[in-house]
Amino acid sequence: MSNLDAFYHALENPGRYIRQWKKETEKRAIGFFCSYAPEELIHAAGAQPVRIFGSGENMSRADSHIQAYCCSLVRGSLADALSGALDYLDGTVFPHTCDSIQRLSDIWRLNSPIKMHIDVILPVKLNTASSREYMNDVIKKFRRDLENKMGISISDEEIIKSSILYNRIRKALRELYKIKSMNPGAIRGRDLHTAVKAGMVMDRNVYADHLEEYIKELRSAMHGASSDRYKRVFLAGGICNIPDIYSSLEESGGAAVWDELCTGTRYFDGEIKITGDPVDAIAERYMERLICPVKYRSMNERSDSLVRQVREHDAGGVIFLILKYCDPHSFDYPDMKKRLDMEGIPSTLLELEDGRGIDGQIKTRIESFLEML
């Protein structure tokens, strides 16, 4: 199987992949939400961290537990948990993010067949001495919770090994993104997206090898192809679970050259220090990395960072991908758009829902936006 095939294979049916992996390794798999889940520790505990996305199938199963005015990530994941589609998970980790995930944690704990349940109540602000101390405390507590609930002990050595592996993966992902930014024709958006997300499901050691080899392959296949034919686009928003977006963009002559998505740079930004207390080092990365709208560091941080990244990657425009009913992103959008307007950077907003895919209207929006650039 080629490296790229391995990514597609794992992501096409994460359940199949994890069941097989569990059979081979006799280890446990733990599901998690959000890029703020300290998955380095899950990995150090000898378990496989699996990001839960929601298949988008049988969403109505969630209807008797949560209202329709809730985002499709939450409803879809809950539907999967209730239908047994996530039966390969031995536990779930809920980091504190938005109000919807917060309540999902309760509903999940009370109704899903997955018994091991850990909440990681991270700080919301990341700019004070007390929140720094609390972040350290909470990550340490998470380590203890994992140890108690799994009946194991996690050594500092394992944590350091895990941090080194995650640094390796994140560094490779940055490399991959840089290839895309420097030469958008070298890798299809859909492939890039799949390569990143596969790393949230696959055995991390296996994945790291595949990823590095994949980068080598890409490098050797590149012979200075010009990137001029692509209209360079930046993707802003939360998670993207609709790879068709990338194809639509490319069909219209565009390419997403960089992003600030949770299924993108927000996931791999920042490095864990390998010196000092290993748990504090993990906490420190979560304090410092690119924030999402449920965390607060300073008043204009997200707009500043957006403009900086758009300029750095020479993007001609920004597409906001926001899940319908996602409050945090929807609250940030108007001021971020205003800021882009002030900077003369065109932007457009696409409101998405899992399980819906891309309809003609969204395609047209993408086409006409690209024509503007």
Binding site: Y69, I107, N111, T128, M299
Partner: protein
């Protein structure tokens, strides 16, 4: 022109709470003070309804509550207009209508009082939701003023020692923030005084709500929605203590005279979530017509649900713990325990849950709560779909049909 003599129905007159006039005067004078703060050389802090207000009172900083503003906008039926203005500004219609209405009111001085006074600083506690953090960030940018976030880790089971340490430590950071931006220092005697007054106010508020345990209930949740403004906005002052003392006396007198708010009260209902501000009168009349009295609610009682955690001798730290333990900052199972207690205390026959599009942390989980209450406590629970401020999300005929059907079930049960 001849004035029409006002025809009053003595039966209706008898049921009216007499203090109400005074309450309106207090709120008017409070808003006048707030709106003339600049002239009087006073600082204004906008603060969330569940935020630690006592230090502001102790430091003579005038607290202003955008959520109370939201409620006034809703009650004044100005919600749909302001919310749609926010949508024109780019805010999704799916966002909280308090936030939308307030954000849209700012640039045009909109709303029933011509806009809130400009803040000198913002104080936001996420003990009620994550929405307020986003909302206050937007307003901090708009007014270009400093923002303090009092971060209260959510309690899924028990508050963790880590979280308790964190909230206590933040109280110190909060005081430093206030001192820095007001140019004054906190007087600890005044702080203690404000803390003690806040405790007294909360105890009085609890006693007021508890009068509805009496049959017939001398007040309903609709009266609580109205009188709530004081415990929210003036907690920590003697004004609220004095007024609530008077209100409590009046309610006790009503009990001794056997005056209930709903004529021939037969059914006693519990309400969950924020009021439907633009339809409180309609809903109150609707329920009265079924001889149903909304005797309690999970919303107004949230302002006195953690009084036991206060310690007069350690006001700041105990306050930090109390504020992080409020009703909305706890899991569904903990909420269920509180609801169960209320069902017994107030002798509840049925429950109405407002599934409020604007308030996800309050509304998500209601379906499970409904099942738990119906199964374990055998109490029927009706869920109605609405929004606290944006009347476009409310269908009167649909709600009416559902309430009528629910009341029929209660009558036959």
């Amino acid at each position: 022109m001849i004035d029409n003599p006002k025809i009053t129905d003595p039966e209706k007159e008898k049921r009216k709470i007499k203090c109400v006039k005074k309450m309106k005067e207090i709120m008017t004078s409070y808003y006048i003070d707030a709106k003339t703060a600049v002239q009087n050389n006073k600082k204004v802090a906008w603060i969330t309804s569940g935020g630690p207000v006592e230090p502001l009172i102790a430091m003579d900083i005038i607290p202003v509550y955008p959520e109370n503003h939201g409620a006034m906008i809703g009650a004044g039926k100005m919600g749909a207009d302001l919310c749609s203005k926010a949508e024109d500004m780019g805010y999704s219609r799916d966002l909280c209508s308090y936030a939308r209405a307030d954000i849209a009111a700012s640039p045009i001085n909109g709303g029933p009082i011509g806009g809130l006074p400009k803040p000198d600083m913002l104080v936001c506690s996420n003990n009620i939701c994550g929405t307020v953090v986003k909302w206050y960030e937007i307003q901090a940018r708009y007014y270009n003023v400093p923002l303090f976030i009092f971060d209260t880790p959510f309690i899924h089971s028990e508050p963790s020692p880590e979280a308790l340490k964190y909230v206590k430590r933040q109280m110190g950071e909060y005081i430093t923030f206030l001192e820095e931006h007001s140019g004054r220092s906190l007087n600890h005697d005044r702080m203690k005084e404000a803390g003690i007054l806040a405790i007294r106010a909360q105890n009085l508020w609890q006693e007021i709500l508890d009068t509805a345990a009496n049959r017939p209930a001398p007040m309903t949740a609709f009266d609580a929605f109205f009188h709530l403004a004081l415990i929210v906005t003036l907690r920590g002052t003697s004004t609220v203590v004095d007024y609530y003392t008077e209100l409590l006396a009046e309610l006790k007198e009503r009990i001794s005279l056997g005056i209930g708010m709903v004529p021939e009260e037969k059914y006693r209902l519990l309400w969950d979530n924020l009021p439907v501000w633009y339809r409180t009168r309609w809903l109150s009349d609707k329920l009265s017509s079924h001889r149903a009295s909304l005797v309690a609610d999970t919303y107004t009682s949230a302002w006195c649900g953690t009084t036991h955690l206060y310690d007069e001798n350690n006001i700041l730290e105990s306050m930090a713990v109390a504020y992080s333990s409020v009703y909305l900052n706890i899991s569904i199972d903990r909420m269920y325990e509180i609801i169960r207690g209320m069902i017994f205390k107030y002798g509840i026959n049925g429950m109405i849950m407002h599934s409020n599009r604007s308030c996800k942390p309050y509304s998500f989980g209601q379906y499970d709560l409904q099942k738990m209450i119906m199964k374990n406590l055998k109490i029927p629970v009706l869920i109605i779909e609405a929004d606290m401020v944006d009347e476009r999300a409310f269908s009167e005929s649909q709600t009416e049909t559902r309430i009528d059907a629910f009341m029929e079930t209660l009558a036959s049960g």
